[in-house]
């Protein structure tokens, strides 16, 4: 037996190197809960929750209050029966999805120590490493270009640019970046900031100028499935759904209603269990996948590195929060420039 004895929540907080500005929101630091899952045999499984109020509605101080209810549900369960434990944790998928992700990962992490096989191999071991993009928040044209050139020089070939606050300046900024970083690919993320018609105008402006847009991500509002489809049918570029997709049920709806070319999985929205289902659904429907992050530190990014390499399901990897924070602990993975390798 290797059964769950206790769950410990540990506070972590990191400042961003540069305040992180997206549509309607600026972050200067990230507050995390690191999960230490104690088994009766002394194994401690690690996981991490990076809560999001904007996407999930989660409040940091409230998340701490879920510990006892969680423990009550899964105490005494054997980590070898990990999907039984996932089902219990899944009860928090609406109110505390980031905890769902972190605790589910901590179960896999404990199991991986028990069987001495890293989590990415438990999940299938499809890739040895993944390459992350680099995200550049909303800033002045000059600063955006400077940061993009810097990222390009550091070896990042995919740049994720935040747009969505002002159509005209977004177009100017992305054109300037594309001029200054020839040969890169761009994921542009409006974070709900456009109307469908603004998104189509943005797309047209990019296309006329020959910019290599890999994904036009979440141009419209969370619940606007029809608007997303409208953009998809009228953009020359693949359209991605991010905030719109939290659970596997959302993903199936996107597939049924033909609303997107890409789905952005974030463990902090879906946990491990729904993320696994979304992978199968999206691959069967022949759509494509990217994986993103919130403000995770080292162990949080490790979760996504193991998930992404294990399932091997993703065309693009936006796992850069560990690069954007001041000195987070790297654990369970190592980085070689933009390449992220899972480790035991």
């Amino acid at each position: 037996m290797s059964v769950i004895k206790d769950i410990e929540f540990v506070k972590e907080e990191y400042d961003y190197e540069v305040p992180f500005h997206i549509t309607g929101h600026v972050s200067t630091s990230t507050k995390l809960i690191t999960i230490r899952l104690h088994l009766d045999d002394g194994i401690v499984g690690l996981g991490q929750a990076s809560r999001s109020f904007r996407v999930n509605g989660e409040v940091y101080d409230a998340l701490w209050q879920y510990r006892e209810a969680l423990l009550e549900l899964i105490k005494g369960m054997d980590v070898r029966n990990y999907k039984r434990i996932f089902d219990e944790i899944d009860k928090f998928s609406r109110t505390a999805p980031s905890l769902k992700a972190g605790v589910q990962f901590s179960v896999l992490d404990a199991l991986s120590q028990l069987i001495q096989m890293p989590v990415f191999e438990i999940l299938g071991g499809r890739k040895d490493f993944v390459e992350s993009d680099m995200t550049i928040g909303i800033a002045s044209l000059e600063k955006t270009v400077e940061r993009a050139k810097d990222a390009r020089e550091k070896g990042f070939s995919v740049l994720k640019l935040k747009i969505g606050e002002d159509l005209k300046s977004d177009i100017d900024r992305v054109l300037a970046v594309s001029e200054a970083t020839k040969g890169a690919k761009y994921i542009v993320d409006a974070n709900l900031g456009y109307s469908p018609k603004e998104a189509i105008q943005f797309s047209d402006a990019m296309y006329k100028n020959g910019v290599d847009i890999a994904i036009l991500e979440q141009p419209v509002n969370v619940h606007d499935f029809d608007g997303l489809r409208l953009v998809r049918y009228n953009s020359q570029y693949p359209v991605g759904a991010d905030e719109t997709i939290k659970t596997k049920y959302d993903a199936l709806r996107i597939v049924k209603e033909d609303c997107a070319d890409f789905i952005n999985i974030k463990l902090m929205k879906s946990g491990i269990s729904d993320a696994l289902a979304i992978v199968e659904i999206v691959q069967t429907a022949d759509l494509k996948l990217m994986i993103g992050c919130m403000g995770e530190g080292g162990i949080g990014i490790a979760q996504s590195v193991h998930f992404a390499t294990g399932t091997g399901a993703f065309t693009y990897h936006d796992l850069d929060s560990c690069f954007l924070l001041k000195n987070p602990d790297y654990i369970r993975f190592r980085a070689e420039k933009n390449k992220l390798y899972p480790t035991l």
Copy 2:
């Protein structure tokens, strides 16, 4: 490293205790290929293919000719990267799906020995055991009732009755069985034998007589998705798709086109990889699942016992071929009456 060195195919053949009669087809024996996957460290992973000409179009003698092509694709691969290996084996999903299943399982079986954790736990460990139904082939009314009573006395609470050759005698037989085995549930399987309207007539006759039909399985032709939906919308009972569903793509079509209440997964149709995807798709769509078999012997049924307990996804388990054959080897599972327990 624990890499694949060789694949050995071993012939097995078992007679049925009683010739097995379904719509348009009688089997007196089952011919199997047991797979022995040799790793360089001495581990031998076991799997089994039970080919079906009727469902998959597979010819037994032809399957032997795939061994070298299979080996060429996966030789030297590490079983810890099992989904990479699955992707290679998936290339046989059209021409040799039963081999796909057996070889994919042999990879998991080898991995399970390596990490000393049974396959059902690698897959999530959701259940400790499952209960099988008992299938009764097409026979005279008297023989059907006798066999049904016998199965009921042996502890089987779900009886699967083969119908589909003659509507009138099917109705008489099922009513007689239900009279003689009160309290049982019945899965009735027409194996493509009815027109949609015959299926609806059958369903009406059962409903008027209060028979507890759990699933009206595959009433209509393989490619008749619309006919299946017509039966579904006009039957008081859950309608199941079996022969219609082979790959995960078929399952997604059933979901999109709203054609069934149940999907019958058989590893011999889908292999492990598509079966895993079908589980996620069907659960997300809130349909239900049963798991069935072809003519597998002991190791073949073990595969489905591990899959069914690991994923914990199935409402009904039709894993009775090992009961219907003369003395197959039981391995990787044990049976206590109708209860099937996975073992290492």
